[in-house]
Symmetry: C2
Subunit: 388 residues, 2 copies
C-alpha cells in the first residue's frame, strides 16, 4: 500500500479480527495514541514509548472495532503528545494534506485525517480533546465525530486531559462513520430528532468568508429537511477557550510532569512551551477556571436542549500553508482563533459531527453540528441521511 | 421568638412573601450564606459582608420560597465561609446542638440544622458542598436534602467551590421537605422509582456501631417496601475525599485569594489553615486531581443506575463533644473520616436525602440515601412515603 502523504507511522499486517460482524470487510487505522497489543505507542514523541511500556492489550476502541470484524492496517501520525492542532511534528515528520498543496493537515489526529482523505482507509480512530478530530477533518475534507464525553471508553488511549478527552472518528463518508460509531457506542443512547438549528453569529465573525459560506450552506441544507434555522451570538467562546486552556494544561502537566522532570525527554518547541506555561499556573488561577467552567456549562448549556443543533465552522479558514505557521506569533493567533470555535463543545462535553462543506472546486472546510448531551445517535443519523 | 440554642444570626420581620402558594402559612430560615435584599451576608466571617456589598436582591432560592408563600423569619449561623464541618465559629459563636448536650451541631449549615431541630422553623435553607447539610442534619436529628448538582440555581449564595456547591434543605419532617424541594426544583425532573439498595460495606467500616446499626435499620425499612438490599465495598471513598479536597481547595482559594491578599481579613485558625494549604497546591497536583475525578466518576457511577440507591451513614458517629475537637489532630481525624462518607455523592454530583435513624433514646445519627443523577423527585417521594 502506498502512503504518499506520510500519514502512517506503522503499517500493520496480520492484526486479528472477528471473521464476521457489522464491520466485516472494512479496514481502519488508529492514531498512534491508541494501544495495539505488542506494538509501541509513540504518541508522536520519540521517547514516549519507553515510558509507556509495550502494551499488552489493544485499547478499548481498537478491540471493539476488531471484534466487529474490522481490520486494523495502520497506526497513524499524531501531533506530539496530541497537544497541538497543526499536525506539524518535528520528530516524525508532518503528514501532507492530500487536498491542499503545502497546507497543514491539522491536528492532533493529523495522520488519521490524511489516511482517510487519501483513501488509505475508509475510517480511522482519532482522539478529540479540544478539536483534534474536527480540525484535521475540516482541513482535509473528511467527516469527523466527537462523542459525548464519557460515551466511548478511552481505556488504552494516551491521555492529554481526561476531563475533555474523547475517542473520535474520521471517515470518508457519513454512512461508514455511523456504522463504526454504532459499534463504539456500546450503551444504547436514545435517538433524538432535531427541529431547530442555531448559527453562532459570534463564531462566524472570527472566520474567513469560506467558513461563513460553508456554515450558511449547511444551514440551508438542514432547512430543506424541515429544521428551523436561527442565528444568535453566544458571547462566551473566548471564555470557554480560556477555561479549557487552563484546565487542559493543568491535566497535561499533571500527567507528564514526573516524566519530564526525571527523564528530560526530547520535546518539540511548541509542546515544551505549552507544558511550561501549564507548569506555572497558580492554584488560584486553576481554581477560578474550575469555577468559571461551572458557570459556562450552565449558561452555554441552556441553548442546547434536546432537539436543538448549534452550527459553527470547525476552523476559521481552509488549511493555511505550513510555511505561514513557522512564526510563533502567527501560530499562536491561528491557535486561539481555531480553539475559539472548538472549545465550546469540549467544555460542554457534548457530541459534534463535522461535515465537509466547501463550495465546489474550493479548498476543504468543515462545519460543526453540535448536539445536546447524549444526542450522538440522532446527530449521526441526521448527518447520514442529509449527506449520503 | 426564643433562640435558646444560638442558631440565629439575625431575626427578620416583615419580609415580603406571596399571599398564597404551595408554602402558604409556613416559615423558613436561611443560612447566612444566602443573600437577602438589603441585609448583610456575613458567611460567618466578620469582614466578609463589607467585601460582598449589601445585596440588592434575594438569592434565587430565597426568592423562590417567598414567591411560593413561605415567610423568611431568620438568617442562621454558618461555619466560617462554609468551609468546615463542625459548626464551631470563633467569631459569632457556635450554635448548640439541641439534642446532644455539649455536642457539636455539625456544619457548615450549623444554624439551619439547629433552628430546625429546636423547632424554630420547619424548614431551613443550607448549602452542601462536601456534606454541609447532611452532617449537621445527622448530628441534630433533622432530615436533609442535597440536590443533583445544578438542579437548583445557586445564584445569590456565597460560593465555596462551584463545581460541588448545591442549595440544600434541612427539615423537621420529610413531607415538608418534599413540598419545599418541589418549589425549588423548577425544571421538572422525571420521577424514577427504586428497586435496589446497596449498603457500602467499606463506609460502615469507618463508623461507630451506632452508625452501622442506623444504616441497617434504614435498609430493613426499605426492604419492607419491596426494595432488594445488597452489600458491597466501593473501595474509592478515600480517593473521592482526596480528589475533592484538592479541587474544592483550589476553587475556595481562587475565590478568596484577592480578598485575603489585599485586605488581610480576620480568619479563624481552621479556615486559615485550609486556605493556606490550598494556596500551596501545585498545578500538577490539581491537574492530577482533575484527571482522577474523571476516573472516579466513571467507576463510582456504574453502581448508580436509575433505580438503585446507595446507603451509607451521614457521619461516622453521633455528635462528638465540642471539647473533643479542640486538638488539631483529633479535629483532622474527625474531618477526614466524616468527609470519606460525604464526598462520594459530592464528587458524583448526585442527589442525597439524609434521614434520622437513631435507635429510640439514643443520640441522633443520620443515614444517606444516594440516588442516580436527576433522581431527586423519586428519592424525596420515597423518603416521604417511608418515613411519614
Amino acid at each position: 500500500m502506498h502512503d504518499g502523504f506520510g500519514a502512517v507511522s506503522l503499517f500493520l499486517e496480520n492484526q486479528p479480527h472477528a471473521a464476521t460482524g457489522p464491520l466485516q470487510g472494512l479496514s481502519f487505522a488508529a492514531k498512534d495514541l491508541f494501544d495495539v497489543a505488542g506494538l509501541p505507542t509513540t504518541a508522536g514523541n520519540p521517547d514516549f514509548a519507553e515510558r509507556w511500556g509495550l502494551p499488552r492489550r489493544d485499547a478499548w476502541a481498537v478491540a471493539a472495532l476488531k471484534q466487529a470484524g474490522a481490520k486494523l492496517i495502520a497506526k497513524t501520525h499524531t501531533h506530539e503528545l496530541a497537544y497541538g492542532i497543526t499536525g506539524i511534528n518535528p520528530h516524525f515528520g508532518t503528514p501532507q494534506n492530500p487536498k491542499v498543496l503545502g497546507g497543514i493537515p491539522g491536528g492532533s489526529s493529523s495522520g488519521s485525517a490524511v489516511a482517510v482523505a487519501a483513501g488509505l482507509v475508509p475510517v480511522a480512530l482519532g482522539s478529540d480533546t479540544a478539536g483534534s478530530v474536527r480540525i484535521p477533518a475540516s482541513f482535509c475534507g473528511a467527516y469527523a465525530y466527537r462523542p459525548t464525553h464519557g460515551a466511548i471508553p478511552t481505556k488504552g488511549m494516551v491521555p492529554l486531559a481526561p476531563s475533555y478527552d474523547t475517542v473520535g472518528l474520521l471517515a470518508a463518508d457519513p454512512e461508514l462513520m455511523l456504522r463504526f460509531a454504532r459499534v463504539l457506542l456500546a450503551d444504547a443512547l436514545p435517538v433524538v430528532g432535531f427541529d431547530r438549528a442555531v448559527i453562532l453569529r459570534d463564531a462566524l465573525e472570527l472566520c474567513a468568508p469560506e467558513a461563513q459560506v460553508a456554515t450558511l450552506w449547511v444551514a440551508s441544507k438542514l432547512e430543506s429537511l424541515g429544521i428551523k434555522i436561527e442565528e444568535k451570538s453566544l458571547g462566551l467562546l473566548q471564555e470557554a477557550r480560556e477555561t479549557q486552556r487552563v484546565l487542559q494544561g493543568a491535566q497535561a502537566w499533571g500527567f507528564h510532569q514526573k516524566w519530564i522532570e526525571e527523564k528530560q525527554p526530547r520535546l518539540g518547541a511548541d509542546v515544551r512551551r505549552l507544558l511550561e506555561m501549564a507548569s506555572s499556573y497558580s492554584p488560584g488561577e486553576i481554581g477560578r477556571a474550575l469555577s468559571e467552567q461551572v458557570r459556562l456549562r450552565s449558561e452555554m448549556g441552556t441553548w442546547l436542549e434536546p432537539g436543538t443543533l448549534v452550527l459553527l465552522p470547525a476552523t476559521p479558514s481552509a488549511a493555511p500553508p505550513l510555511a505561514d505557521l513557522q512564526e510563533t506569533e502567527q501560530a499562536l493567533e491561528f491557535r486561539w482563533r481555531t480553539l475559539s470555535l472548538t472549545c465550546y463543545a469540549s467544555v460542554l462535553g457534548v457530541p459534534v459531527v463535522t461535515v465537509p462543506a466547501a463550495q465546489p472546486g474550493e479548498k476543504p472546510i468543515g462545519v460543526q453540528l453540535v448536539g445536546a448531551w447524549g444526542s450522538d445517535r440522532g446527530l449521526l443519523e441526521l448527518v447520514q441521511q442529509a449527506w449520503e
